[in-house]
């Protein structure tokens, strides 16, 4: 179904109303769909960052190889193998990597390929988590909330699972629960933020000057304002590192258990605290180095904030009711050709 092809007041050769070219049965994005689009936007940023000149250089493969040491051989050896291949074929492999991420981004954004793209993003994320991030430093003790642990890319996979489109929405008090159910979604939240709390207490963060050193190290190559923030924050954390690591761990633990708090306002306070903590982490990460020319992604802070928003409590009525856009997107991802035969016609 379409509205009029052109507005009645349109003159010759002039399109007076863009609304006239829309299908009338298209549903506007609901909360879950908007979160999916935000995820697609971050994938798009990743893809473009992957096109930077540094990623085509040997520095990129060396960066990947650097994630292997300290991991068990079964993890580290394949990382070295992959890094060698990338070093030998830097241009081709990196162009493929960037293209894959671009396709994932546009695939999530285009409704007919939503499920395919989300599924591909999970596979791709797990692969990169291993071969590109060395499992985020989880196994070698180098992981810290301030350096992207448990691995930014695995959070993409987590978001893909939480935002998976379903025609029938499961009851849940937040968007992240609509595909997996509230119990599973809460457990995933607890594992994510709880693991961050534990990592904040490990020597990689808690050792003297470790926390501050990580943050100060992010200042190099950043614009003035961000370098100043990271330098000042790094100096403060260097002076108070072990204590601040404990504070961070307590805050992260509070965020972790907040998902089990009763509905608003306590649950909302937990999400707000999670977003603020994610913002702090992102600043500490120097926005993932995306302003330095060497960042491959925005790192974990931005993704943690997106995860938090997916847990924002919504009204019970809209939580139970089927979501029009998500359902439409889910249906279109499977059934678009059958349901919308007009889409197959030449445009």
């Amino acid at each position: 179904m379409t509205s009029q092809a052109a507005d009645a007041r349109s003159g010759p050769g002039r399109l007076q109303s863009i609304g006239a070219i829309y299908e009338t049965d298209w549903s506007a994005p609901d909360l879950r769909r908007r979160l999916q689009l935000a995820l697609a936007g971050i994938w798009l940023l990743d893809a473009v960052l992957q096109f930077q000149a540094f990623m085509f250089s040997r520095g990129f493969s060396q960066m990947l190889a650097g994630t292997g040491p300290g991991n068990p051989a079964v993890i580290a050896d394949p990382i070295s193998w992959a890094a060698k291949i990338i070093a030998q074929n830097g241009t081709v492999t990196n162009a493929i990597f960037a293209a894959i991420q671009l396709l994932i981004a546009l695939g999530i954004a285009w409704r007919p390929t939503l499920r395919l793209a989300l599924g591909a993003s999970i596979i791709w994320s797990v692969g990169v988590w291993w071969f590109g991030e060395g499992l985020g430093g989880v196994l070698n003790g180098g992981g810290s909330p301030a350096n992207g642990a448990p691995g930014a890319v695995i959070i993409y996979a987590l978001l893909a699972v939480l935002l998976w489109p379903t025609v029938t929405r499961r009851p849940g008090p937040f968007a992240a629960a609509w595909s997996t159910g509230a119990g599973v979604a809460r457990a995933l939240w607890l594992v994510l933020w709880g693991s961050l709390a534990v990592m904040a207490l490990l020597p990689a963060t808690r050792a003297a000057k470790a926390f501050g050193g990580m943050v100060s190290g992010m200042a190099s190559g950043q614009p003035g304002w961000l370098a100043a923030i990271d330098n000042h924050l790094g100096s403060f954390l260097t002076s108070n590192g072990p204590a601040m690591a404990v504070v961070l761990a307590v805050v992260l633990a509070a965020v972790a258990i907040s998902v089990y708090l009763p509905p608003p306002p306590l649950a909302r306070a937990g999400v707000v605290l999670a977003v603020l903590t994610a913002a702090f982490i992102w600043l500490g990460e120097g926005l993932g180095g995306i302003l330095t020319g060497g960042g491959t992604d925005p790192n974990s802070g931005l993704l943690l904030a997106l995860v938090a928003v997916a847990y924002w409590p919504v009204a019970a009525r809209s939580a139970v009711a089927p979501g029009p856009a998500s359902a439409a997107a889910a249906a279109q991802s499977d059934l678009a050709p059958a349901q919308s035969p007009s889409h197959r016609q030449g445009a």
Binding site: T2, S3, Q4, A5, A6, A8, S10, G11, P12, G13, R14, L15, Q16, S17, I18, G19, A20, I21, Y22, E23, W26, P29, R33, L37, A40, G41, L44, L45, V48, L49, F51, Q52, A53, F54, F56, T91, A95, L102, A105, L106, A109, W110, R111, P112, G221, P223, W225, L226, I290, L291, T292, G293, Q332, A336, S340, S342, H343, Q345, G346, A347
Partner: protein
């Protein structure tokens, strides 16, 4: 830091192709009296040529400083249209927010040319406008522009399925929109033809009805390609 030469050429070729496509839209719209957003089409002709010239110096066609004037005017013009949209006044293009992305795009182009002029260009760099050593003023602004453009790219991609195919538009083309070419000229009516009978092909229907808008889906794909390319160029601006 400049980009890869082959990548710059790839994006430049895409931009030239899009500029040619937009020019073709303008010509077809003019010759066949088929509705299109002429201002946006014209803007994208300019953007395509300008971006190709930034990506590959030998494709530059304008004197230094000229593009800044062009995109300053474009930013002001689309800004004015956007303000009118938000006031609820009728403009070409219609809905609130339609022109806002073109304001951002024009302003991003203006920023890139202004920033490129203030930066030391690497000798031998394929990307003439790209900084060679992180000397751009306000690099954060480039990132903000890129974020907004990526947002529009994703938003536009999401809405692709909302755009009616040309065949569907042609079947519902109001007779009043047909002007010239002998097709319903002077009828003055707003009758919506029932073209479901006989099932002609999309191209036949569109050709028979000059009031049929040019493909909105292809126009959206053009926006997506331009947004990605401009975002790439902005990300390199540090």
């Amino acid at each position: 830091m400049g980009g890869e030469t082959w990548l710059a050429w790839t994006f430049a070729i895409i931009m030239i192709a899009l500029a040619v496509y937009c020019l073709a839209r303008l010509l077809i719209s003019w010759r066949q009296h088929r509705p299109s957003d002429h201002q946006v089409d014209a803007l994208h002709v300019l953007m395509g040529v300008a971006m190709a010239g930034m990506l590959v110096p030998r494709l530059r066609v304008f004197y230094a400083g000229g593009w800044e004037v062009v995109f300053a005017i474009a930013t002001a013009w689309f800004g004015w249209l956007a303000i009118r949209e938000f006031r609820g006044e009728r403009t070409v293009g219609g809905q609130p927010g339609h022109h806002l992305q073109h304001v951002v795009g024009s302003a991003a182009m203006l920023y890139m040319f202004a920033a490129a002029g203030s930066m030391k260009t690497a000798s031998g760099s394929a990307i003439s406008g790209m900084p060679a050593g992180g000397a751009a003023h306000f690099p954060t602004l480039a990132l903000i522009f890129a974020f907004v453009l990526f947002g529009y790219v994703i938003w536009t991609t999401d809405r692709l399925t909302s755009l009616a195919p040309v065949a569907a538009l042609a079947r519902r083309a109001p007779v009043s929109a047909m002007v010239g070419a002998g097709a319903g000229a002077g009828t003055g009516g707003v009758a919506v033809a029932d073209a479901d009978q006989g099932q002609p092909s999309a191209s036949e229907v569109a050709a028979a009805r000059p009031g049929t808008p040019l493909s909105p889906s292809l126009a959206a794909c053009r926006e997506i390609a331009m947004g990605v390319t401009m975002g790439y160029m902005l990300i390199l601006m540090r």
